[in-house]
Amino acid sequence: MTGDVILEARNLVKHFGQSGWLNRNPVVQAVDDVSLEIRRGETFAIVGESGCGKSTLARLLMRLIQPTSGEVQFDGAPVSQAAGPALQDLRRDMQFIFQDPFSSLNPRMTVGKLVAEPLEVHAPDLPAAERQTKVAHLLRQVGLQPDHAGRYPHEFSGGQRQRIGIARALASGPKLIIGDEPVSALDVSVQAQVINLLGDLSRDLGLTLVIIAHDLGVIRHMSDRVAVMYLGRIVESGPTEQVFGAPRHPYTQALLASIPGNKVDQTAHATGEMPSPLAPPSGCRFHTRCPHARADCTTDQPKLKAAGHAAHQVACHHWQRIGKGVKAPGTAPRRPEAEARFELYRAASEGGIVTHKENLTERS
């Protein structure tokens, strides 16, 4: 199955705010000329620091917001122009998991009603009894108990709520699920459980997953391919082991160098803050922070092109000169409590110790 494209974005642009003759507000270039191809059955990750346009991209792919230009195709059908029954089908086939499990569940509705809602929308003819059976099945599938259906969201912990969100996303029987930082609001130990749950579900149900994250450990653990975003553009993309093992773009190198446990290489270090998307730098958007920047970086905008490997693409003029920036993980001296925390995190994100079946020990 892996191979054919399920979701494709072409030259996607989203600018917020318009500058008319009365309105002098500058335009925020949240997403600028992004093209993606997501293959059926794979787990695709989009990574980048806060404010780089990851969430906007996710919302564009879902058509929660309309793109300024460019288009998205799902299974060969255009997403941006879909209306009526076509849009209904699209909503059934693509689902979304929100970052914040506290605000994405209506506080006045019981879990059963929340999970049953997509069923009511997409299968209105289903008898109530069958719907309840389906809800119970979905809750069991995400590691909750069927009798939780009568409770309200506030009675659950963050991890359990995220499971409710996942059950709701699964209810309509989607082919593709987009997760907008699905675990970043959770505790580290719970993160691993939810990640493993998502991995298990995508394998069991043959789902395609698109995971937006800023957490490299999460991405390395669960994704097949990864795209790195910086200031609204994709700067590097490719198979996860390629991007993590041999990062080509100086920004990716800086990101990987910032992982605790990796030896910090001075040449792979981004200085300063990310520039404002209101006035992005000319040429390569990373040149203001890039340790390898040259004169042509400030004027010419680099395009994504194959770097060594056909599937591995990078948008940098000088990737051949820069080479690999990151050394293998080493042991830098750290405070013991920090060390313990990272140790727990590593163990958790490798998924060996905590599994989602132990969710019953969670605080309820």
């Binding site: 929660l64 209904q88 909503r91 693509m94 689902q95 994405s104 019981t110 997509p118 709701r168 209810a171």
Partner: protein
Amino acid sequence: MSGMTLRQWLLTDTPTSRRHAKMASFYKGWLTLRGNTMAMFGLGILVALGLIALFAPLLAPYDWTTQNLGNRLQPLGTEGHLLGTDSLGRDILSRLIYGSRITLYIVALVALIAPVAGLLVGTVAGYVGGWVDLVLMRITDIFLAFPRLVLALAFVAALGAGIENAVLAISLTAWPPYARIARAETLTIRSSDYISAIRLQGAGPIRIITKHIWPLCISSLIVRVTLDMAGIILAAAGLGFLGLGAQPPSPEWGAMISEGRRFILDYWWVATMPGLAIFTVSLAFNLLGDGLRDVLDPKDSET
């Protein structure tokens, strides 16, 4: 089951079913309300008013239309006429008792029509946004720009005098504040993640407004309704007083004041007694509304 165990059942921390939990939270709300003496005072008056209206034929010593011209304008405490008689010799107490039915009728109808209309306009304006919001809110502003009674007068003058038209006119003047509250609530709810989540599941705007936004708007509207009741009673009485609401011989309290106005210096009780009735009931609604706000409004009660 004794009363003590029922109380324990209601106050348990671990409800056994959803109905149990609902009843328990209802009981806790009632306990909060019961702690508020003034609210209980208001509630007592209103319960009494309801009972009086329900059993009016049993309670009233005379029929409200029976005239006795030889026995007119009797003072308070006259034999058989506790609150005296009016200019046509009708028993004022009996008329007040029957008048409570009219008052409740008007209040109930307005309290049904105005918030529903406001909810409809406000949530649609808030959810749809854009020019729909602009048009609906400017219409709301136009209604809000007139003093309430003046606007009601204009409507009654156009529609013709009578109780039904008075109800309609008061409702037409009472909905704009509800629309504004509902719109404000909708704007905060609309941008929340769970509404986005529902949209992404493919739910249409009608489903979102009726199933997700209305239930969340209702508690703040209920509080506003109870606080508005006094104003509705006063507006109805005002219309009756001006001769545009209930028509004589109907024992509407405002109309009764209007009739007694001619003799107010010599026979003060004829106008004062219905005035006191209006005052008492308005006060009761305000007191209860204050208490209910403390119970129902989660924003205040959490602190």
